[in-house]
């Protein structure tokens, strides 16, 4: 090839690539594959693909309603319990025995790593419950052996037995009546795993894959996952319900809320989790986007580590609570998109106490109480600010910064601490914090779902009791509330519990926030699920 030829080849290559770039830059319209798929921008990486192992909604979002099903489901509109994998159920008169009739012809996922040979049956239910219930179960200690949701509710000591009656009938017997038992079976965490897959993995010697490469009956099959990048799912064509979901579903993991909204604007995401409070106006104004909002069943709070002095002293906790101006936190962090929290449950719940007293803002009394408790000026404490956004606390870092100025006024110096989400929760469970800004979203509509996991003694080792506060009087009240079905009687128990919380202040409730989700107008069928994770079974893209 002579020189001239060569240079003309180079020229044509350059020309070609330029024209390609131009062409591609202009072709914004959706192509076939992007048309057939939906991208959801989620806020973090799941810790595993088994929600039994974690209470974080990030984990639940990524697997609970995509890969798995539960025996029972909540109606997303009214919170009533509906059939899931169990087509019907019977409760004995003494409320101690629950019999479930299971659905037939429900197939598990057929994936590159596992091919099921049988459909869903009673063995899978027994396996899924016994895994966390029975300490000697071969799978109990796989992946850490910690099942925080069930532990925090003390379900291990509630369930007496899980029996397979026949292939499609399961009987669960309890030691004591539990008015929230059915609701617990419908939460994101009570997923049904495949017993056949588990046995298969045990034979292969890689049992921990059960929680990493999941097999379920849900509307989507797991395809692949890269931490901090993406999760890919494919539609489960033999799903037992007639759903209209897309062929491909991708979770684009985008921890920064501003970036998620930016991607929604550029069309890289079809829906985003937890849009930042600052961006809500912009989303409302744009014609191609829709903002979904619903009052959330949640509470954001500031919990003190009561196992650590001087935070074991209620006086100190009260002083610190008095030093904070909640009103300005609500305005600055939630930009007014939340209601002030006085106790644990929001007004959407029947157990809400509207006449509850609130801790005001009074730095003078705060300083006085601190002096009485022997805490001199210059005392240093840390506030752990969670690194992810949640409806109940859209920006914990900012809140911590604000609080540190308030606390500085009463002579308390604050160090703000934050890690990545997984490490953050591990260290919290280990009790390394002085205080933490975190919160709780309900998994079901029952008030017990707030009172028990957040503050009972049993919830300390499971890590949902961030205050590490244990009060037998409180535990008794919560226990008694569960033994009765009468909601008026229960309400009285919960109000008495509120009084104890107000007296002891293991945590300072801050806000009940609205829940938001932003979606592209082309997408239909995404709703806010107040009782847990996001669902994509009936989501469609308009042509």
């Amino acid at each position: 090839m002579n020189l001239k030829n060569q240079s003309s080849t180079i020229k044509s290559i350059i020309l070609l690539s330029f024209s390609l770039i131009l062409m591609s830059a202009c072709s914004k319209q959706k192509t076939q594959i992007t048309q057939a798929g939906i991208t959801f921008c989620s806020e973090g990486s799941p810790a595993s693909f088994n929600p039994q192992l974690d209470t974080s909604s990030t984990t639940a979002d990524a697997s609970s309603h995509q890969v798995y099903d539960r025996l029972l489901e909540f109606n997303t509109e009214n919170g009533e319990i509906e059939p899931g994998l169990a087509s019907s159920w019977l409760v004995s008169n003494d409320s101690l025995t629950y019999t479930f009739q299971l659905r037939k012809g429900v197939s598990f996922h057929d994936t590159s790593y596992f091919t099921p040979t049988r459909n869903f049956n009673a063995d899978d239910v027994v396996f899924s419950i016994d895994r966390w219930r029975v300490n000697s179960h071969p799978y109990h200690d796989i992946s850490g052996g910690s099942y925080p949701y069930f532990q925090s509710l003390g379900l291990k000591s509630t369930i007496k037995n899980v029996d397979r009656i026949n292939g499609y009938r399961v009987e669960i017997s309890l030691y004591k009546p539990d008015s929230s038992f059915l609701a617990n079976l419908a939460t994101d965490f009570s997923v049904i795993l495949s017993a056949e897959y588990a046995i298969n993995l045990l034979e292969k010697g890689s049992p921990s894959n059960l929680d990493v490469l999941p097999i379920g009956t849900g509307p989507y099959k797991f395809v692949s996952y890269r931490k901090d990048q993406f999760i890919r799912y494919q539609r489960h064509h033999d799903y037992f319900l007639n759903t209209t979901g897309p062929e491909n579903l991708v979770f684009d993991i985008t921890p920064k809320s501003s970036l998620r909204v930016a991607k929604l604007i550029t069309g890289e995401c079809d829906a985003v989790a937890f849009p930042s409070q600052n961006d809500l106006e912009i989303i409302r104004e744009r014609e191609d986007l829709t903002l979904l909002e619903k009052p959330g069943l949640n509470v954001g709070f500031w919990a003190f580590n009561t196992s650590k002095p001087p935070f074991d002293n209620p006086k100190v906790r009260r002083a610190l609570a008095l030093a904070i101006d909640k009103t300005s936190l609500l305005e600055t962090v939630y930009l007014g998109q939340a209601t002030r929290a006085k106790s644990l449950v929001p007004s959407a719940s029947w157990a809400h106490q509207s006449n509850m007293q609130d801790i005001g803002y009074n730095p003078v009394i705060a300083r006085k109480l601190l002096d009485e408790a022997g805490i001199s000026s210059g005392f240093t404490m840390n506030i752990w600010a969670m690194p992810v956004q949640r409806a109940y606390n859209p920006n914990a870092m900012k809140m911590a910064q604000l609080m540190s100025t308030y606390l500085a006024e009463v002579g308390v110096t604050v160090n703000i601490v934050s890690y990545d989400w997984t490490r953050f929760r591990e260290n919290l469970t280990a009790g390394m914090h002085d205080s933490v800004l975190i919160g709780w979203s309900a998994d079901n509509g029952d008030p017990d779902n707030f009172y028990r996991p957040l503050l009972t003694c049993a919830a300390i080792p499971s890590g949902t009791n961030r205050a590490r506060w244990c009060n037998p009087e409180y535990d008794d009240l919560i226990e008694s509330a569960l033994k009765t079905e009468d909601s008026n009687a229960r309400r009285i128990f919960y109000h008495r519990a509120n009084q104890i919380i107000f007296r002891e202040i293991p945590l300072v409730p801050i806000a009940h926030a609205f829940q938001y989700q932003a979606v592209n107008n082309q997408i239909e069928g995404i709703t806010i699920n107040p009782f847990g994770g996001i669902r994509f079974d009936d989501v469609v893209r308009k042509q």
């Binding site: 909204v261 600052n278 305005e331 600055t332 910064q401 604000l402 100025t405």
Partner: protein, 297 residues
């Protein structure tokens, strides 16, 4: 750094004056120089100039737009941020930290670099050659990588990020100094000194160093612009200055969450970093042109 050297005139009045005369001929260089002087003034006087404490939070005035916008307030010229802090004051303090720490670290790096370079240049032999080559190869390691390692060992903070940049800048000074000293050592006037019985330190202090100022000035402007960009990049990545230290890169990254509702919070710190670096580069460019022209004329 250039302007400090300019006042050392009493030793060598005419060549420096010459540079200044050449430098003055370019309007751009003069404007750049003026802006640079302004940044120096800000760096020194920030506490006096700033109307507010940069960390004071005013929750009644959150995200106020800058004064030139319709609903801006003259009380906060650049508006306020998400915690109601005055952006103008934060920018001034940010300039102080970003610019000041960069100047400081260039001073440290040049001192160490010149010292090592002189040693390497005045000594001959295989040791100096090996050391030199090794230094050159290690010099190619990206700043950010060194910073990541230092942060991993010592934790985040302004000083730690400064050490990382110092470590990266030193080899450049060593190299320049070494080549310069080598060249000069071959020259006759040094031989004269030697014949007069001058010791090595004396040769360095009274003969080589004065001639090196020009080289150092040029090298320092280069290093300074790199240092500012690096220190703000580390701040941006949250590996550098931490709250309550106000640094421009860090302020910029903190403002990203409100990039839509308050774009000026992202635009302003970035613009000031840009202006700072631009003025230094213009001055550096002017200085080099002036030096070159002085040799020609």
């Amino acid at each position: 750094m250039a302007q400090f050297n300019l006042y050392e005139e009493e030793f060598h009045p005419s060549p420096l004056m010459h540079i200044w005369l050449e430098f003055k001929r370019s309007h751009f260089a003069l404007i750049g120089f003026a802006i640079l002087l302004l940044f120096c003034a800000i760096a020194i006087l920030a506490p006096l100039l700033a109307p507010y404490d940069p960390n004071i939070q005013n929750t009644n005035a959150i995200l106020l737009p800058p004064a030139w916008e319709a609903n801006g307030s003259i009380a906060h010229i650049f508006g306020t941020d998400t915690l109601g802090r005055d952006v103008f004051s934060r920018t001034l303090y940010g300039c102080q930290v970003t610019f000041g720490s960069s100047v400081l670290l260039v001073l440290i790096a040049s001192t160490i670099g010149v010292a090592l370079g002189t040693l390497a240049g005045m000594k001959k032999g295989i040791k100096s050659s090996v050391l030199n080559h090794l230094l050159d190869s290690l010099m190619a390691i990206p700043t950010l990588l060194v910073a990541i390692i230092i942060v991993a060992i010592l934790g985040t903070g302004l000083w730690n990020s400064m050490w990382a940049i110092i470590l990266v800048l030193i080899p450049q000074f060593v190299h320049q100094t070494r080549s310069f000293v080598r060249e000069e050592m071959k020259k006759d006037y040094i031989l004269l000194d030697k014949l007069d019985g001058a010791s090595s330190p004396r040769i360095f202090w009274s003969s080589i160093l004065p001639g090196m100022f020009e080289l150092l000035a040029v090298q320092s402007t280069l290093a300074l612009s790199v240092a500012i960009i690096d220190i703000s990049a580390l701040g941006f990545l949250n590996l550098g200055a931490q709250s309550p230290v106000v640094e421009l890169g860090a302020s910029l990254s903190q403002s990203l969450e409100v990039a839509y509702s308050a774009p000026w919070l992202v635009a302003l710190p970035g613009f000031f970093i840009f202006l700072m670096v631009l003025s230094i580069n213009i001055v550096g460019e002017g200085l080099r042109t002036a030096l070159r022209n002085r040799l020609i004329h």
